[in-house]
Symmetry: C2
Subunit: 307 residues, 2 copies
């Protein structure tokens, strides 16, 4: 099944202990699309400015991403600047220039109307809901959000969560959304808000998927994929979006959604996140092979596999 | 193989969001011994005061622990008081009364001289080294330490680390010991200090074991055991020592040390830690059955197992 991602395209200025880059192609939808492109056909809905060149678009097209949903408009593309100091798990934002992203109104091309798997990257929950209501025939919807919306637009987010099948957020966001500090209890509370499944991303410790009782007909036991301890983290930007791209992309590539597919998806998410951080920006995601991906999948599997 | 643990016996006063208990039996050696007792014969070397009653000793004896190495001396037993506030991962120490523990000089009974597996719980590194040098014929030595010794007695600790085969510490301690913030790099540096293997305990995220190249003849790939997300954490005290008891106890119960044994040991460590936190103090560790332990082992295994 093809997958549609709706979210941001950005130019990022990033400083990490490994170096500094200026105005490189980024944004949640970009990382997601590149990561998912190794598993299935990917479509994108986003907005860019006049500074988005054919060379930028080629990064996506070279991976077979359908870019017809990327709207070009007057002005500059969304820009973000941040630095990672000692703690590579947390970016310190230095500037945010929303530019054309400020008035982003996702428009779904007619050619995308047969989309069966949808991912709503981290944008205003009202925009997420608008996309969802516009799309018929979607079999599986994944979504992301962040502390900004959890605290700033809780009512709008609550409406969106009723429509999302699988929510992918991190530990802190899960606890904040639930108002509960114990993770499994927080997860259970989030699952009463709408989603059938909740993927909690633990950064370097992997991810856990929790299920609503009866969801997908596969019982309510959580499962967990570990992450590979990585010696060289050059740039953590986009790790979570790459995780989501690997997870959702793998699921979309399979005919059905069952426990084993979701579990393997969780491992593939971790694999794509681990590749993303090895280079600045999207560099590592541009030129992978499925062979490299599956080799790392085996390493992840081996990491926790008991005979 | 039987296992000998050298460490503290204490009376703990603990407050958590679930309640408060006063002067209950605790201490690293106690948690370790009870957890390990489900796997193999356990011997203890520790010191207690006049307030250590036959009822306290019965807790250990009922689990078959050989208490001949527990020295009784004039004065009061080591006391610790702490509380866990919002963050159940971190205790705030309220008081520490070393009492008889202040002059603890571990004495190994003759009956223990055939010990093949030794665990040095968190005590002064010079005492750890003294025990090690006194014992012949030990095939495997595990050890613990903490930030207090890493910062306060680095030279003494360095000498001890040369003699320890498997070091069990947490993420923060690993990074502090190595002076390196990337975990796998820090682990690699710790492995140059002596140990053949390093178990890094990640709390609710499980644990990872790193190997020195060539150690145990099993290659240098790390592996990782996840922890079960636990909804009800009543009292985190002793979780790390219970982990160590399950890990070392399982290994001691096996004839040989290989990759699969160490890996299963890591899972059993997580299992025993998860039981420990379900009740205050050692309560849950006193009345388990091997059937309950193996059932949870299967849940842990299932949690990450790919077909």
């Amino acid at each position: 099944m093809s997958i549609l991602v709706v979210g941001s395209v950005a130019f990022d200025t990033i400083a990490t202990p490994s170096g500094r880059v200026n105005d490189i192609l980024g944004g949640a939808a970009t990382y997601f699309a590149l990561a998912a492109s190794y598993f299935t056909e990917v479509r994108m809905v986003a907005v860019v400015g006049e500074d988005f060149t054919p060379e930028h678009e080629a990064v996506l097209k070279n991976r077979g991403v359908d870019t017809r949903g990327i709207e070009r408009t007057q002005g500059k593309t969304f820009r973000w600047g941040g630095q990672y100091l000692d703690n590579l798990n947390e970016a310190k934002t230095e500037f945010t220039e929303l530019n054309v992203f400020e008035k982003f109104q996702p428009r779904i091309p007619k050619e995308y109307s047969d989309t069966q798997v949808l991912f709503l990257a981290n944008i205003h929950p009202t925009l997420q809901a608008a996309v969802l209501l516009e799309m018929d025939g979607v079999r599986l919807t994944g979504g992301d959000t962040m502390n900004f919306w959890i605290q700033g637009t809780p009512k709008e987010l609550a409406e969106t969560l009723k429509l999302v099948n699988v929510l992918l957020i991190n530990d802190t966001e899960t606890k904040m959304l639930a108002g509960e500090k114990n993770l499994p209890l927080a997860a259970r509370r989030v699952l009463t808000m709408g989603p059938n499944a909740l993927v909690v991303k633990h950064g370097e410790y992997g991810a856990t998927i929790f299920f609503r009782e009866g969801a997908f007909g596969i019982g309510s036991h959580p499962f967990r994929a570990p992450a590979l301890p990585i010696e060289e983290v050059k740039d953590p930007t986009g790790a979570g979006d790459s995780f989501a791209g690997g997870f959702m992309g793998y699921i979309a590539s399979q005919g059905e959604i069952n426990r084993e597919v979701l579990k393997r998806g969780l491992f593939y998410g971790g694999v794509m996140g681990s590749f993303a951080v090895e280079r600045f920006g999207t560099e590592r995601l541009q030129n992978l092979t499925r062979g490299e991906i599956d080799a790392r999948f085996q390493i992840f599997r081996e990491l926790t596999h008991l005979e």
